[in-house]
């Protein structure tokens, strides 16, 4: 049996938690940090940036498979652009759940990265600027890998890997969109 002092503290903790539920119960676990449209709008000076579609031709699809390690789910990829700046909203599975992230690419390098929706039970530290800022300025090397190493987060290996794969895909798509 628990020590009476510990039991008393546990009862108090439980009361605090019940109170906490009533205060915080409105929030969901599918953590939406930013809507895709808001992210796109924040990247441009105009309120309604142009939307475009990049078709995943067999060549693009083959490269996407090499980057992701699996078939991409989409037949075509929607993106926004203004001048040489493009915005990409991508999705990739971390360990079990889909992570949605936004990437702003300009002149072949990543200008901004944001985790828009996170659904995994562990590893959501990838949403913090300390992690995301590592992608700023990253470009695509000849082998379609990033030109830099991204430091991982302990316990979030698969979420970090998913973010790296998505950033590579965003840079590749941006390159192909520019060449179109």
């Amino acid at each position: 049996m628990l020590h009476p002092g510990i039991a008393r503290r546990l009862r108090l903790t439980w009361l605090c938690l019940v109170a906490g539920i009533s205060i915080h119960g409105a929030y969901g676990a599918e953590k939406v940090y930013m809507e895709a449209a808001d992210f796109a709008a924040s990247a441009f000076s105009t309120p309604s940036p142009q939307t475009h579609v990049l078709w995943l031709t067999p060549e693009l699809r083959a490269t996407a498979v090499r980057i992701l390690g699996h078939e991409p789910a989409q037949l075509r990829q929607k993106y926004w652009n203004e001048g040489k700046k493009t915005v990409w909203i991508l999705e990739e599975i971390g360990k079990e759940e889909v992570i949605t992230a936004g990437f702003v690419v300009q002149d072949g390098h990543i200008e901004q990265t944001r985790v828009l929706t996170y659904r995994e039970s562990r590893g959501d530290e990838i949403r913090y600027p300390a992690f995301l800022n590592q992608f700023q300025g990253a470009t695509l090397a000849d082998d379609n890998h990033l030109n830099r190493r991204i430091d991982g987060i302990s316990g979030a290996t698969l979420s970090v890997n998913a973010m790296v794969r998505m950033s590579r895909l965003a840079l590749y798509f941006a390159k192909m969109a520019e060449a179109k």
């Binding site: 049996m1 628990l2 510990i6 546990l10 903790t13 938690l17 906490g20 539920i21 915080h24 119960g25 929030y27 969901g28 676990a29 599918e30 953590k31 142009q50 939307t51 475009h52 579609v53 078709w55 390690g69 699996h70 078939e71 789910a73 037949l75 075509r76 929607k78 999705e91 990739e92 599975i93 360990k95 079990e96 759940e97 889909v98 039970s121 959501d124 530290e125 913090y128 300390a130 992690f131 590592q134 082998d143 890998h145 190493r149 991204i150 430091d151 991982g152 987060i153 302990s154 316990g155 979030a156 290996t157 698969l158 890997n161």
Partner: protein
């Protein structure tokens, strides 16, 4: 697409309608396309349909070539393939990891060389809604599990996770204890060395799980707390002092729950940095419930035998260099009583005269790894680790500690990643107190 194909492909018409509808939705969502753009969209859709029809025909041909007895297998395969093509992930998810090893001892007079499928693990998860999910991990150790083999089939995790917000989440069931680095993150590609490190095997009994309820969340960006009430150890089951109190681990198999335990952990995570620690404490006497001998049972009925185990740990990456260190220490109260109870039971059963139950035990290690070479997804990472541990720092009165349990070990080798989630490993381990354990290890590990 020719007319005969349309006739022989009944799925094509709904597909075409769906594609046209999709094209229409795309138009509605974005800027209004020009006529040329609309034609381009439809052309692309038709190209894709042609590709899909060709794939379907090929699949149909393969199916027709199979024997009737293969129908179930083909159906399963299709289900998996379609799941893999969609990121709209199923509510039920599957993952896993595994590892194989080969140990070759320098002098195999004491220990036999062996090859083993150490672990084969499958994860099953199910999301009931946005807040509530079920997580589980099923494991088979050493390939075969039967009454005449050493293998085990076990449930490593099975719990419900209820997420309220970043700061407050609950879990209930069988889950991993948040002590150390390896216990919660133990997939082979995530750690260096073929075998798990000795300190997080003998001092922190990884993979260590308990049944209970827990609360966790972030108090500040990157700073996560984890607290809970769980089952604990059963001191009467401690059987091998070389592994400290590991033998008393109940693994939620009809666990004696007369004494419960509590745990708390705090970890700060940032890119390339982990700093944290945890503590677990609770009674282990369990009122002698698993002892049959009345004398032995009576000894533990009025005892507490509190176990307290704590650790501090850290990881830091500087460029291509990964550094990691951990210190862990445990104490067992009433160790004299526990030792006397086990001795009484063994004497009654004529199986022995007792065990040198540890009153205290500790261990620490420091490790350095360097990302020496990488190409595409492959990476070569040599590492070296020094470990110091003593599973019997102090023992119960009347018993003597085995000097072989006061050990220093050096491990040097390399992880070669074929893919971020697939690793080949090789290392050599040298032990000071028990040189008979010096060995070459080779291994393969994966996670998905």
């Amino acid at each position: 697409m020719s007319a005969p194909h349309l006739k022989t492909s009944p799925r094509l018409i709904p597909s075409l309608l769906a594609c046209l509808l999709t094209a229409g939705l795309s138009v509605a969502q974005g800027a209004v396309p020009t006529l040329e753009e609309k034609i381009e969209i439809l052309q692309q859709e038709l190209e894709e349909l042609k590709r899909q029809v060709a794939q379907n025909q090929a699949a149909t041909t393969r199916l027709a070539n199979n024997t009737a007895g293969n129908t179930g297998g083909a159906g399963s395969g299709n289900a998996i393939a379609s799941a893999g093509n969609s990121l709209a992930s199923s509510a039920t998810t599957i993952g896993g990891y595994g590892e194989l090893s080969y140990n070759r001892y320098r002098n195999n007079n004491t220990y036999d060389n062996q090859a083993d499928l150490n672990r084969f693990v499958l994860f099953f998860g199910h999301r009931f809604n946005d807040k509530l999910r079920f997580m589980s991990e099923m494991e088979v150790e050493h390939a075969v599990s039967s009454s005449s083999d050493q293998g085990e089939a076990e449930i490593e995790q099975a719990y419900l996770d209820y997420n309220l917000n970043d700061k407050l989440n609950f879990k209930a069931g069988l889950f991993l204890m948040p002590l150390g680095i390896l216990n919660e993150t133990h997939e082979p590609p995530t750690y260096y060395g073929v075998m798990r490190n000795e300190v997080e095997t003998r001092i922190i009994p990884s993979t260590w799980r308990e049944g209970g309820i827990g609360v966790y969340g972030e108090v500040l960006p990157g700073l996560r707390y984890d607290v809970g009430v769980t089952t604990g150890f059963n001191a009467a089951k401690i059987d091998d002092p070389a592994f400290a109190i590991r033998g008393g681990h109940q693994e939620m198999q009809l666990s004696k729950a007369n004494d419960l335990s509590v745990y708390a952990a705090l970890n700060y995570r940032a890119p390339g940095l982990l700093l944290g620690g945890g503590v677990f404490t609770g009674g282990t006497a369990q009122k002698g419930a698993s002892l049959a001998d009345p004398t032995a049972k009576a000894l533990l009925q009025n005892s507490k035998a509190r176990l307290t185990l704590w650790d501090l740990h850290g990881k830091y990456s500087i460029g291509d260099l990964d550094l990691q260190a951990l210190y862990a220490k445990g104490t067992l109260g009433d160790a004299d009583t526990v030792a006397a109870a086990i001795a009484a039971q063994q004497i009654a059963d004529s199986t022995g005269t007792g065990i040198a139950i540890p009153k205290s035990f500790y261990g620490w290690y420091g490790q350095a790894a360097y990302h020496l070479w990488r190409s595409d997804d492959m990476e070569l990472i040599p590492f070296v680790r020094y470990e110091r541990y003593n599973t019997q720092k102090e023992v119960a009165a009347g018993f003597t500690a085995n000097p072989l349990n006061d050990e220093r070990a050096v491990t040097a080798g390399a992880n070669f990643k074929l893919h971020p989630q697939v690793v080949l490993k090789a290392d050599y381990q040298k032990f000071r107190a028990d040189p008979g354990k010096d060995r070459l290890n080779l291994g393969v590990g994966y996670m998905f």
